[in-house]
């Protein structure tokens, strides 16, 4: 994985497979605290305490096709390399809350990369469930909410290529706007 947005795409699919109807993805950059927090929260089937304990083990997976599961361990490693870490809280029937904390300016922090492409891929491949993407930089933030888009679309699928392209543009333009507003506060480009 060369971009954190690819880890997000990978790990968010665990939420999809857990039967989540809403997956909330938040990227929170706090330059003053030199901290980047990525959180992925879903209302899927959740995990038992035993499963939560095993999920960062590369040799644990719920799939039966193979014996390895690398998604969460790779994200955990990426966070730990920057002096941060990964935390998961989960409850069967309620959902799962994953938080990965990174040193924002740490030399080993991978760039966030094309987060708009990640969110678009998730929406395009799973048009019948909802995603809420929030980007925060300092005090400024914006959201891309498929529930809001869905209300406008009146039955036109979210996976329609033109709609996917619109959402990608929406995320890119809003992210750029927030970053331009605060380019003087010492944060680095993602």
């Amino acid at each position: 994985m060369q971009e954190l947005s690819l880890n997000i795409l990978d790990v968010a699919q665990n939420s999809v497979r857990a039967g989540a109807t809403l997956t909330e993805i938040t990227v929170d950059e706090q330059p003053a605290d030199d901290r980047l927090t990525i959180s992925i929260r879903d209302n899927g089937c959740g995990m038992t305490p035993e499963q939560v304990g095993q999920v960062t083990d590369p040799f644990f997976t719920t799939r039966t096709t193979r014996k390895v599961g690398l998604g969460v361990p790779l994200l955990k490693m990426a966070a730990e390399l920057t002096g941060g870490g990964l935390e998961i809280t989960s409850e069967p029937g309620r959902g799962t809350d994953l938080r990965a904390v990174f040193g924002l300016n740490h030399i080993d922090r991978m760039p966030l990369g094309d987060i708009a492409a990640t969110i678009c891929s998730l929406i395009q491949c799973n048009p019948d469930i909802d995603f809420l993407y929030t980007f925060r930089h300092g005090d400024a933030s914006f959201c891309a909410d498929t529930r809001e888009f869905r209300a406008v679309l009146e039955g036109v699928p979210l996976s329609t290529p033109e709609v996917v392209a619109y959402i990608g543009g929406y995320i890119r333009e809003n992210t750029a706007e927030i970053q331009n507003q605060s380019s003087s506060d010492g944060g680095i480009e993602p």
Binding site: Q13, P161, V163
Partner: protein, 122 residues
């Protein structure tokens, strides 16, 4: 900043087109492997290229979706093309340029790009 009015315009345009599509006969399914192995190998830009190229060519009979790991991680990014009445075609070690060619020659033209298939990758 993009406004929701822009999305409303897309909706109205799509609603007018939807009638044309009719039922799903003749629908081609393109499935991109998007597990950890596929993503690490570059599946996301491949999915993007299929979507953009199919849209640019106005191929409304193509559905693009994802699947998990199908067990041939060394060949990722893997893309499967399923058409009613034809054998499934498995493309391996894909990239955005190859995806464009598959859209042009296979999805639009009906001719399998044999050199990118798993049979040719030995």
């Amino acid at each position: 900043m993009k406004s929701l009015a822009e999305l409303q315009a897309i909706r109205d345009k799509m609603k007018n087109n939807m009638g044309v599509r009719g039922d799903d006969t003749g629908n081609i399914r393109v499935v991109v492997g998007m597990a950890t192995c596929g993503i690490a190998a570059g599946a996301r830009p491949v999915l993007q290229a299929f979507t953009e190229e199919a849209a640019a060519r106005g191929l409304t009979n193509v559905t693009i979706s994802q699947t998990g790991c199908i067990g041939i991680c060394q060949y990722e990014p893997v893309v499967e093309v399923m058409e009613p009445g034809r054998e499934k075609v498995t493309y391996v070690k894909m990239d955005p340029d190859k995806a464009e060619r598959v859209v042009a020659e296979h999805l639009a033209g009906g001719k399998v790009v044999t050199e990118y298939t798993i049979g040719a990758a030995k």
